[in-house]
């Protein structure tokens, strides 16, 4: 642990600080460390008051997303060796900050729920009818979009999320789109109405930044823009087909 690196970390204590401030820590680092290891070292050895979220340390739980050198990053996945001797760590952009590196998640949860991310059936299948069967090809159509770990890096990278509070946003639209593509689901029209409503998919102007930062290669930008096409087709179909009352 001979090498040293300097961390410029955003601190915010709602009881004491008017606005977020930056604190600097110079610490010895191990060459094998991820960014998260350095944050844990600071909390354990230097300043126990530092607050940050983390859990699995293996890029699955999606809790440790932060802005590292200005870019939305899963801190358990990025090696420290990829950065210079000075590294800035800030809370995820586009989110209200609860404390230090911890952001407010409730707004995200509300958007998430708004797309009805569950299988919708016109009529529930009776137990004796057996399970829903799905072929490998049918699974492949949406599998990529189901790999999201809800780390919210995409929300942090999105210029539309930054400017339009109503926008449903990348991960939630990708999730809704994932159910729309699922052969077992019958709720696509319902979700397409949501996609055309307030927070509309059309707010997206295809910056593609969500996909650039996604640590799981979900490609939410693809999902959002596919959702636009499907929402338009669903809208146009409404002029030709009479739908039952929903």
């Amino acid at each position: 642990m001979s090498e040293k690196k300097t961390f410029r970390i955003t601190r915010f204590d709602p009881d004491r600080d008017e606005a977020p401030r930056t604190e600097t820590y110079e610490i010895p680092v191990d060459p094998d460390w991820k960014v998260l290891d350095a944050l844990n070292f600071i909390k354990d050895e230097i300043d126990g008051s530092l607050s940050h979220r983390w859990s699995c340390r293996m890029a699955v739980c999606g809790s440790c997303g932060m802005m590292v050198d200005g870019k939305p990053t899963l801190t358990c996945k990025k090696a420290l060796s990829e950065y210079g001797s000075e590294i800035s760590v800030e809370p995820l952009a586009n989110f209200p900050v609860v404390r230090d590196l911890v952001v407010e998640l409730d707004g995200f949860m509300e958007k998430f729920e708004s797309v009805k991310p569950w299988i919708i059936r016109a009529k529930e299948r009776a137990v004796e009818e057996g399970t829903h069967r799905q072929s490998q090809a049918e699974l492949e159509e949406f599998k990529q979009f189901s790999m999201c770990i809800n780390c919210m890096l995409c929300y942090s990278a999105c210029p539309v999320v930054a400017n339009e509070p109503e926008f449903i946003g990348p991960a939630a639209i990708a999730l809704g789109h994932r159910y729309n593509l699922d052969s077992r689901d019958e709720g696509a029209h319902e979700r397409n109405e949501i996609f055309r409503g307030e927070g509309s998919v059309f707010s997206c102007s295809y910056a593609n930044e969500c996909s650039e930062v996604c640590p799981k290669s979900v490609d939410p930008a693809a999902a959002v823009n596919q959702a636009k096409i499907n929402a338009v087709i669903d809208w146009a179909t409404g002029f030709v087909v009479t739908r039952g009352k929903e």
């Binding site: 400017n163 339009e164 409503g197 059309f202 102007s205 929402a231 338009v232 146009a236």
Partner: protein, 119 residues
Amino acid sequence: MKHLLLRLEPVIWLLFGGGIMVGTMLMTAWIAVVGLGAPMGLVPADALAFERAHALGSSLIGRIVLAALIALPLWKGAHHTRHVFIDMGGADRDALVAPVLYLLAIAGTVLAIAAVVRL
């Protein structure tokens, strides 16, 4: 107004898509020849002489191409200019800015059709 904009969004988005796709392809040629080639003397002088230009423009295909070439870029333009305002932090004024931009595109589209009809 916000509600109306949301209802019209699929139509606006289709016209915008047409602008970016077809408008870009047509405009590449228009700019190269009419905007740059002819004024700089890079194309034969008689290519855009009045008689020939009018004959080309007033054919059925000519009218359709010219109308598309004028109108579609206006929709791409209006929609993206709306996004410029939003990018610059103007989302709260979107209900004012967006209608002005789209009305501009509608006016331009009507004039484009008029322009090719009277050729």
